[in-house]
């Protein structure tokens, strides 16, 4: 008789299962368009040159040790990371009402924010506050908020499958009808999985409704720099909301833009009304951190802090980021051109209009299955592809495969 005899087998996380299946596929032409990690044109992971440089600096520095960081993390990391999101000259920072919690990746930042909100937002321990996530959204958003105790997690209209773009009316409609004080998880840029971002004008409309209806702004910023190649451009929405006077959270990830995936480098930036409120919020964040991981890992944060705070390294990092973004833009243009040349049925402009690592191809589940089974091209059931999986060597095969799939499978 076992204590765990009743524990059921859980279904595996889809995106990791996909990678597993890809690994086991023997087809030499196989292509992995699944997991969201950058790949070079040789299809290899890429450790940023600036990261290699800074790692050497760290290893050589005998004055560094492995002591505990403070509960909220490395101060130089937290402040410089927040500056990246809000801008060097952000008035909110100058007014001392911006704070941060170093967290384990973007996931950790979302978790800390969610745990705090459940305890302290809209009353104490109010698990009934609705949390809205975009339809569709990163599949882990739901679980993060559910595990923090929120009972009511709802979709807000976002992706218009027919026109393959933003369903602005639907989005604004859901904002208007959401109960006051609802929490909205917004993708700062390079929406995952659709790659479709609101325009500036559309963001302004969103902000207006959210302010009027007292909705809580929780940004998820996992791709700053990666979307357009420019850090400031990618942070436009976050900064606009700050100018509009919102108190808000912004979960930042440095997994993609620093290529530091496995070092778990994230930051929860908190914009409060004033420094007094901020202080109390941070003190309660400490308590949540203490029962989860006590204090965050130092290696990745050190690396990012050194880079962001050293002018030549900062410049080199921005270059590295731009080169990743540029390769993605090149693959987008290439794929779209090839599909057009093949005269593949349908319109394919969305491939170049969408932004960031992902593209929502519009392929339906049956077509996705065909791609995987018949062509050994691995993509998510939603039709999402990771542009980074495309290279100059495999793009013809992928384009032809999409063409064949669309023509033969409906």
């Amino acid at each position: 008789m076992s204590l765990f005899g009743e524990v059921p087998q859980a279904t595996p996380v889809a995106v990791f299962k996909l990678s597993n299946d890809f690994k086991e596929d023997a087809n030499p032409k196989k292509v992995n368009l699944g997991v969201g990690a950058y790949r070079t044109d040789e299809g290899q992971p890429w450790v940023l040159p600036v990261v290699k440089k800074v790692e050497k600096i760290i290893v050589a520095d005998n004055s560094l040790n492995h002591e505990y960081l403070a509960i909220l993390g490395l101060p130089e990391f937290r402040s410089s990371a927040s500056k990246i999101a809000l801008g060097e000259d952000s008035p909110a920072i100058q007014e001392n009402r911006v704070g941060a919690v170093q967290c384990l990746g973007g996931t950790g930042a979302l978790k800390m924010g969610a745990e705090f909100l459940r305890r302290w937002y809209n009353g104490n321990d109010n698990t009934k506050t609705p949390v809205y996530v975009s339809a569709p959204t990163w599949e882990n958003h739901n679980a993060v908020f559910a595990n923090a105790g929120f009972e009511d997690i709802r979709p807000y209209k976002y992706w218009d499958a027919e026109k393959r773009g933003l369903d602005l009316d639907g989005f604004l409609g859901d904002l208007e009808s959401a109960p006051k004080h609802s929490i909205f998880v917004l993708h700062a840029c390079a929406h995952n999985p659709t790659g479709t971002d609101p325009t500036h004008v559309e963001w302004m409309q969103v902000a207006e409704v959210m302010k009027r209806r007292k909705l809580f702004v929780f940004f998820d910023s996992a791709y700053q720099g990666f979307a357009s190649g420019c850090l400031d451009k990618d942070a436009w929405a976050v900064r606009y909301f700050v100018t509009q006077g919102f108190e808000m959270f912004c979960a930042q990830s440095f997994s993609k833009n620093f290529g530091l995936y496995n070092e778990r480098v994230g930051n929860l930036t908190i914009v409060a009304r004033d420094s007094d409120n901020l202080k109390r919020v941070l003190s309660q964040m400490e308590k949540i951190v203490r029962v989860t991981w006590s204090n965050p890992p130092s290696q990745g944060a050190r690396l990012v802090a050194i880079t962001l705070n050293t002018p030549e390294l900062f410049a080199e990092w921005k270059d590295n980021v731009k080169s990743m973004a540029d390769r993605v833009l090149l693959m987008r243009a290439s794929l779209q051109a090839k599909l057009q040349a093949l005269e593949t049925p349908g319109t394919w402009d969305h491939i170049t209009q969408q932004i960031g690592m992902f593209s929502f191809t519009g392929l339906n589940p049956k077509q996705v299955e065909y791609m995987i089974k018949e062509r050994s091209i691995y993509l998510m059931a939603s039709g999402r592809i990771n542009m980074c999986g495309l290279t100059t060597k495999n793009i013809d095969y992928v384009a032809e495969s999409i063409h064949e799939t669309v023509v033969n499978v409906q």
Binding site: V7, H66, W120, R273
Partner: protein, 428 residues
């Protein structure tokens, strides 16, 4: 907690800003109802210490090892491992949710022993965690979700301060069993047995594998045997917390004896391990969580559920520290150096215990300080009362936790005299 809508009286009107809208002023905030949280009882001590300007100040708060110069100690095997890793130029791809395979395997082996039947049959699942805290957090939440037979977790009295909020936050009910006997500054064996005999079946009992925190009081092997028997009779779920393997006696296998004995006796334990102290990897957050199951099939089911727990917390664990630990554990030369260095750290602490007791005698203290020598591991439960602790901090700038616990790791041959002087002053 009352479900109060957070309301902050709009007191002095600051500037109305058009962009903030008519209804809000600078003073109205979502967070008006957020109270100031108290400083952490353990980590808060270090922060208070940092603010103190006295040249004689001593930080005996958090359990972080210091060398005889009072400096943080980076192990030689760690530096060597780092150099090795650096030369390999590895990528930074995400680890699996359960962590680095090389690490989890050797982590389990370290605790259970290389020849463990559990490892051979594959009936354990070991995941990489964010050090000991992260391991306990995952364990507490796993039990909360899947151990429907009981909500009760019995902690020894006293236990590590952070145990209580971790389990409470996971939705478990905290209870206690007698452990520390203040009259002997030793183990209340009979009290513990008595309390264990009354625990409802299927309750969770937390056991410190070695070097009990905060008391430094460990059961002797014969006592462990009796506890194991009684726990089996009561059909309790054993949760071992092993944060100091190697640090207690200086011997890895000796320190894991209780864990291995319980497993041999058929207990299906859950186990938290930390490499913060024994490898000095504090800030790298290296730990493991193990569930010993019936068989490999059950282990697979449990593993799948652990992943479901971990993914919404932080997706997957950090690489750096686990890579260092795995390199040390799996490279014979480095492993050998590590064992020596752990032994060295434990020995320095034992020496400091002896010196502290001797110095207290020299100060003319008439109290019995034998427990300083008898207790084991990083901590010493001095027996000081809160008022005495407060005086020690205020008058002598000696920082420690309110319960009278001092970290012997913070004592050096140059400050042990000062410490004895201070302790004597507040206890005479």
């Amino acid at each position: 907690m009352a479900l109060l809508k957070s309301s902050k009286a709009i007191s002095s009107i600051g500037t109305f800003s058009a962009s903030l809208g008519v209804l809000s002023t600078r003073n109205s905030s979502w967070w008006g109802g957020v109270q100031m949280g108290p400083p952490d009882p353990i980590l808060g001590v270090s922060e208070a210490f940092k603010r103190d300007t006295s040249p004689k100040k001593m930080n005996l708060g958090v359990g972080a090892y210091r060398d005889d110069h009072g400096k943080p100690f980076v192990l030689d095997c760690v530096r060597k491992a780092e150099a090795l890793i650096s030369s390999k130029q590895l990528d930074k791809e995400y680890l699996a949710i359960g962590g680095l395979g090389d690490f989890t395997k050797s982590c389990a082996q370290l605790a259970l022993g290389a020849d463990s039947e559990v490892l051979k049959s594959g009936r354990n699942i070991t995941v990489q965690t964010i050090s000991g805290t992260g391991s306990l957090c995952i364990g507490a939440n796993f039990l909360s979700r899947f151990h429907s037979a009981s909500r009760d977790v019995y902690l020894p009295k006293p236990s590590w301060g952070n145990h209580t909020p971790i389990f409470r936050d996971a939705g478990m009910q905290l209870k206690a069993y007698r452990y520390y006997d203040p009259s002997t500054c030793g183990f209340d064996f009979n009290g513990a047995l008595d309390d264990i005999s009354k625990m409802p079946e299927k309750s969770v009992i937390m056991l410190h594998a070695c070097a009990h925190n905060p008391t430094g009081v460990d059961p002797k092997p014969e006592q462990w045997k009796e506890i194991a028997d009684l726990v089996k009779k009561r059909d309790l779920l054993v949760f071992f917390d092993m944060a100091y393997q190697g640090f207690a006696s200086g011997d890895i296998d000796r320190d894991a004896w209780a864990v291995r004995h319980f497993i041999e006796q058929g207990h299906k334990i859950v186990l938290s391990q930390s490499f913060a102290k024994n490898m000095g990897l504090y800030g790298e957050r290296v730990g493991g969580f193990t569930v010993v199951c019936n068989d490999a099939e059950e282990a697979k089911r449990v593993e799948s559920q652990l992943k479901i727990l971990i993914r919404p917390m932080y997706s997957n664990p950090p690489m750096n520290g686990a890579r260092i630990a795995a390199t040390i554990l799996n490279t014979p030369d480095l492993y050998k150096i590590w064992l020596e260095e752990v032994h060295g750290m434990a020995n320095r602490i034992i020496k400091m215990r002896e010196q502290l007791a001797a110095n207290l005698k020299n100060e003319g203290s008439t109290h019995n300080w034998q427990h300083v020598i008898d207790q084991i591991g990083m901590f010493c439960f001095t027996g000081l009362k809160p008022e005495q602790v407060e005086r020690l901090t205020k008058e002598f700038s000696v920082y420690m936790t309110k319960d009278g616990r001092i970290s012997m790791a913070g004592v050096t041959s140059s400050n042990v005299g000062y410490l004895a002087h201070g302790i004597h002053a507040v206890t005479k």
